[in-house]
């Protein structure tokens, strides 16, 4: 696993401040623990990996499990996956102090010139959200197993993410979640912003979500 930090601090490269813009579009994937963020990263890599060059930064806590999951599934070569250890504060690392994430994103951009960088947040609660200093677009993933009240609770991810994904609809009946209630609440909270219902179990290609991500990429990307 590649860790933060280089051994040498030699000559100046990228400017010290701000976002030296490469060509990559950066997409944050946030949401509570277990909603399906890693499963979605894997799905996007599978579905878009042939057409686009992709790299991934994961912020999962405890182990580097997410990165290992992606590796095991063979969706991305090792050197295109980096992990941030967030010091028990996954939301801080994607919102208030994004420097550790920027470090790894820029490293991947410099080494691989990807079209798309996916940044998976560590699992957090409904109030977590990405800073637009780190990413260009963000997807917020919740699941029906968390209860059909989740969209009604709102929070910045539900209300303002560029795409809301309500995942695990294959489980809706089992957990007694009413998808129409969730649809109406999401609409109420989000206005014109898009919401997608998905099951990464029964539809592992995540076609609808991949189409949305593709629309965020510049037409020039190969």
């Amino acid at each position: 696993m590649h860790r933060e930090g280089h051994e040498t601090g030699t000559p100046n490269g990228a400017s010290g401040g701000g976002r030296p813009r490469g060509t990559a579009v950066r997409v944050g994937i946030g949401g509570p623990v277990g909603g399906g963020k890693t499963a979605l990263v894997a799905a996007l890599c599978r579905t878009l990996g042939q057409r686009y060059s992709i790299a991934v930064v994961t912020n999962d806590i405890y182990t580097e499990e997410d990165a290992e999951f992606l590796r095991r599934n063979g969706v991305l070569p090792d050197e295109r996956i980096r992990a941030v250890r967030t010091g028990c504060c996954p939301h801080t690392a994607i919102r208030d102090d994004i420097t550790a994430n920027l470090d790894l994103v820029e490293e991947l951009e410099a080494e691989h010139r990807p079209d798309l960088v996916l940044v998976e947040s560590g699992g957090d609660n409904l109030t977590a959200t990405f800073s637009y200093g780190l990413i260009d677009k963000q997807i917020f993933v919740v699941d029906v197993a968390g209860g059909d009240k989740v969209p009604r609770k709102g929070g910045p991810g539900v209300q303002r993410s560029d795409l809301l994904v309500i995942n695990k609809i294959d489980l809706a009946e089992l957990v007694g979640a009413d998808l129409e209630v969730m649809r109406a609440d999401a609409k109420e909270q989000r206005g014109e912003l898009p919401t997608v219902f998905s099951s990464l179990r029964t539809g592992p290609a995540a076609t609808e979500i991949a189409d949305q991500v593709t629309a965020w990429l510049p037409p020039g990307a190969r």
């Binding site: 860790r3 933060e4 930090g5 280089h6 051994e7 040498t8 601090g9 030699t10 000559p11 100046n12 490269g13 990228a14 400017s15 010290g16 401040g17 701000g18 806590i61 405890y62 182990t63 580097e64 941030v84 250890r85 967030t86 010091g87 028990c88 504060c89 801080t92 690392a93 208030d96 102090d97 994004i98 420097t99 550790a100 920027l102 470090d103």
Partner: protein, 213 residues
Amino acid sequence: MLAALLLADARTPLGGHTHSGGVEAVVRDGTLTGVGDLETFLRARIRTAGLVGAAFAAARGFAIGELDTEFGARTPSPALRAASRAQGAALRRTGSRMWPAPEWEILRRPHLPIALGIAAVASGLDQAQAAELSVHHLIGGACSAAIRLLGLDPLAVAALSAGLASLAEQTAALGVSAANTARTPAELPSASTPFPDVLAQLHEQSEVSLFAS
């Protein structure tokens, strides 16, 4: 003064929150279990790593690259060198936006105390302020990590931080005088605590870790 407060403020995004200053390693090891242990740990670290960091942050008139090399030589653990550079790079990223200066362009990933020295000069702080900031970050990083990892009483830890202030100030002052008497960067202090260095190396290799260092 305001610049010093901004540099001391955990809300300023300087990358510190992902580092525990060696605390996670000694917590896992079972050596640090409470506020009392934290104080013992910090008193040892302030006198050693704290003094070295303070002297390097306060050093003026030396070539930045030479200071950086000398600090690296005082950090035998590759994991700690990487952690120091990661934090220096974060400080450079944010600090160069807050106080632009040509010195930021010399190194892309300076060691943390070197970056702090550059920030201090660029923002108009004096040597004592730079040295105190360096010790303050050592204490603050360890304290907040201990609170998160062990669930320590944050009020008790705040009281501990206040109680360490005089040792921190004395150490910063020693760092400044060492910086001013050194004729070359090689003559700057080199005190260390080998145990945390060894543990940092084990931390880097462990599968389960919450902090980058």
